[in-house]
Amino acid sequence: MNKKEMICIVCPMGCRLTLQEDVNEEKGYKVSGNQCHRGIEYGIMEQVNPTRALTSTVKIKDSSLNRLPVRTDHPIPKAMLFECMKLLNHIEIQAPIKMGDIVVENVLNTGANIIASRSMA
C-alpha cells in the first residue's frame, strides 16, 4: 500500500480521506481530506485495525417486548462482529433492566462491554 482512499464514517459528514504511508509521521501514515481531528484517528485505525460499534438485541424475559436493544460501549474489531453476534444469540436477560446496565462484560476479551440501550420494565 502506498496510497488509499476511504470515506470517514465517524459522523454524517462522510469526508473523503486519503491515507498515505509516511515514515516521518508518528504513526507511519499521513491522512488528508479530513475536516476534523477524528478523521485522522479513523483513517489510521481503519488501516491498522478497523473497528465498529455493534448494535443488536438480546432476548428479554417478562417484559412488554421480546427483545432488548443492546450495544457495545466501545468499538470492537470489525472481524469479530459475527462472533459477537453468535454470542448474543445465547443471551437471555430477565426484566427489569436499566439503560446502561452491563449485559456482557468484556465481550470476547475486547475490553468492551455489551450494555442495554434502554430501560425495560
Binding site: C8, V10, C11, P12, A53, K59, R67, M99, S117, R118
Partner: protein, 421 residues
C-alpha cells in the same frame, strides 16, 4: 370533555420535544397523546447508533435518544395517554379520541401541536408488478419485527431503495444471519448518507445497483425470486439488462410520506410537495393555534433537526397560550426556485423572529460546486457556496433579520446558481 392548554398529538421525538419545550416556557396544562403502547415513536426500533451528534454531542442509539426525552417529560410531570388514537380534529381544536380505558372521549386544547410523523410508502404506492406473495415488507416494518418483536423476516433478501432505513436494514439482517443479495436504487445516486453505504453495504460486500428498478416479483405463497433491470435516463427499464435473484424476502425502502389525515380533517392547508402542512416561522399551520413539527411537516434525515424544529413549535405554542405570538407586522412568503424542491417555513412574520430566520430546504438533484442564492423580491441578499448538495441531505440557511426588518413584506426565494455565474 377534558380541557388542556396544549394537546400534543404523537409521542415520538417531535411530540416529546415540543411538549417539554412548551412546559419550559411556562405552560403547565399539557397532554401528549400516543397511539403506541409506549412513548418514543420510531426511535424505539432504530437500535443502531448515530443519533444525537448535534443535540447531545455524542453518538446514541434510537432508544437511548428517546429515553432521555421520556425521562425529562416524566420528571417535569407532563401527562400523557398511551394506546390512544385521535380520530378527528375539528377547526375549533376539539379532538375525538379513543382508547380501551376511556372509550370515546372529547378533548379540547387551546392550542394543538401536530407531531404524527410519517409513514412508509408501500408496494401499492409505487405499483410494483408481479404476484402478491408473503415476504414483501417495508424496511421499517421489518425493522420493528426484528428489533422489537423478535421475528426474523427472511433468509435471502433483496432491498429496493437505498434510503437510510434500507441501508441500515441491509446490515442488520446480515448480522442476524440473512444473506442480503443486493440493494437496487432507481436514481443514479443513493438517497442515504455516504457513511451508511460504507458501514452497511461495503463492510459486508453487499452490491448496490444504482439506476436499477424492480420489474417482477415471483412466488405464490412466499416470494421465490425477483427481477431487477437497469433504467434509462427516463427511468424506464432497459430490455436485456434484467438480473434475476432467488430470494424469499423483499424489503422496500422507497420513501416516507407525512401522515396528515388528521390535519386534513382540521381543514389545514397542505403543501403538495412536502405532503405536510403549510407553516409559518412559529411552526403554526393555516389554522390559528394549531402547530406542527417533525416528519409530519417534512421528512427529516436527522432526528436532531426534528428535535430543534419541535422545540420551536413548543416554544411558540406556549407564546400563543400566553398571547405573545404576533400576528401583524411585516410578513414574507418563501418560494423554492431553480434547483430547490421546497422550503419550510412557507411564511415568516419578522416580529416573531429573534435573530435569524432559518429556512430549511431540499435540492432536487445532486450538485457540486454551486451557490445557494437567497433573494428578497428578486434582489440577492445572501450567497452560500456549497461543494456538494444531494436530495438526501436537508440544507438550512440562516438569514439575519436585519435584511428584513425595514421592509414591509415581500417574497424570499432560494435558487441554485453555478459558481462564477
Amino acid at each position: 370533555m377534558l380541557n388542556y392548554d396544549i394537546v400534543v398529538i404523537g409521542g415520538g421525538p417531535a411530540g416529546l420535544a415540543a411538549a417539554i419545550e412548551a412546559k419550559k416556557n411556562g405552560v403547565d396544562s399539557i397532554l401528549v397523546i400516543e397511539r403506541d403502547r409506549e412513548l418514543g415513536g420510531i426511535l424505539q426500533q432504530c437500535i443502531h447508533n448515530g443519533f444525537g451528534l448535534h443535540i447531545f454531542k455524542e453518538e446514541l442509539t434510537g432508544p437511548e435518544y428517546a429515553q432521555r426525552f421520556i425521562e425529562q417529560l416524566e420528571d417535569m410531570g407532563i401527562s400523557y395517554k398511551l394506546d390512544t388514537m385521535v380520530l378527528d380534529i375539528s377547526e375549533d381544536k376539539s379532538l375525538m379520541v379513543m382508547n380501551r380505558t376511556d372509550g370515546l372521549l372529547k378533548i379540547r386544547g387551546k392550542a394543538i401541536i401536530l407531531a404524527m410523523g410519517c409513514r412508509e410508502r408501500t408496494r401499492g404506492a409505487i405499483n410494483i408488478p408481479g404476484t402478491r406473495p408473503a415476504g414483501v415488507f417495508t424496511a421499517g416494518t421489518a425493522q420493528r419485527f426484528v428489533n422489537m418483536e423478535g421475528y426474523m423476516v427472511g433468509k435471502k433478501v433483496v432491498i429496493l431503495g437505498s434510503g437510510d432505513i434500507g441501508l441500515i436494514m441491509a446490515r442488520r439482517l446480515t448480522l442476524e444471519g440473512a444473506e442480503v443479495k443486493a440493494v437496487a436504487e432507481l436514481m443514479p445516486y443513493s438517497g442515504g448518507l455516504t457513511r451508511n453505504i460504507v458501514q452497511c453495504l461495503d463492510d459486508f460486500d453487499i452490491p448496490l445497483f444504482l439506476s436499477h428498478t424492480l420489474i417482477d416479483i415471483k412466488g405464490r405463497d412466499r416470494v421465490e425470486g425477483i427481477t431487477i433491470a437497469k433504467v434509462d435516463e427516463n427511468r424506464k427499464p432497459i430490455p436485456g439488462t434484467e438480473q434475476h435473484y432467488e430470494c424469499d424476502t423483499l424489503l422496500l425502502s422507497v420513501g416516507l410520506i407525512p401522515e396528515n389525515e388528521l390535519s386534513k380533517s382540521a381543514g389545514i392547508q397542505l403543501d403538495s410537495i412536502t405532503g405536510g402542512p403549510v407553516v409559518n416561522e412559529a411552526m403554526e399551520t393555516s389554522v390559528k393555534g394549531i402547530f406542527a413539527c417533525g416528519n409530519v411537516v417534512h421528512v427529516h434525515d436527522l432526528v436532531d433537526w426534528v428535535t430543534e424544529e419541535s422545540r420551536r413549535a413548543g416554544r411558540n405554542a406556549a407564546k400563543f397560550i400566553k398571547d405573545e405570538l404576533w400576528d401583524g407586522g411585516p410578513s414574507f412568503r418563501t418560494a423554492a426556485e431553480k434547483g430547490i424542491r421546497y422550503i419550510v417555513p412557507h411564511m415568516v412574520r419578522v416580529e416573531n423572529v429573534e435573530q435569524t430566520v432559518d429556512l430549511f430546504m431540499r435540492v432536487d438533484d445532486v450538485y457540486t460546486n454551486v451557490n445557494m442564492v437567497v433573494k428578497l423580491d428578486g434582489v440577492r441578499i445572501r450567497t452560500i457556496t456549497k461543494k456538494h448538495l444531494a436530495p438526501g441531505e436537508m440544507e438550512s440557511i440562516k438569514i439575519p433579520t436585519k435584511f428584513l426588518k425595514e421592509k414591509s413584506g415581500g417574497l424570499l426565494t432560494v435558487c441554485l446558481e453555478k459558481e462564477g455565474a
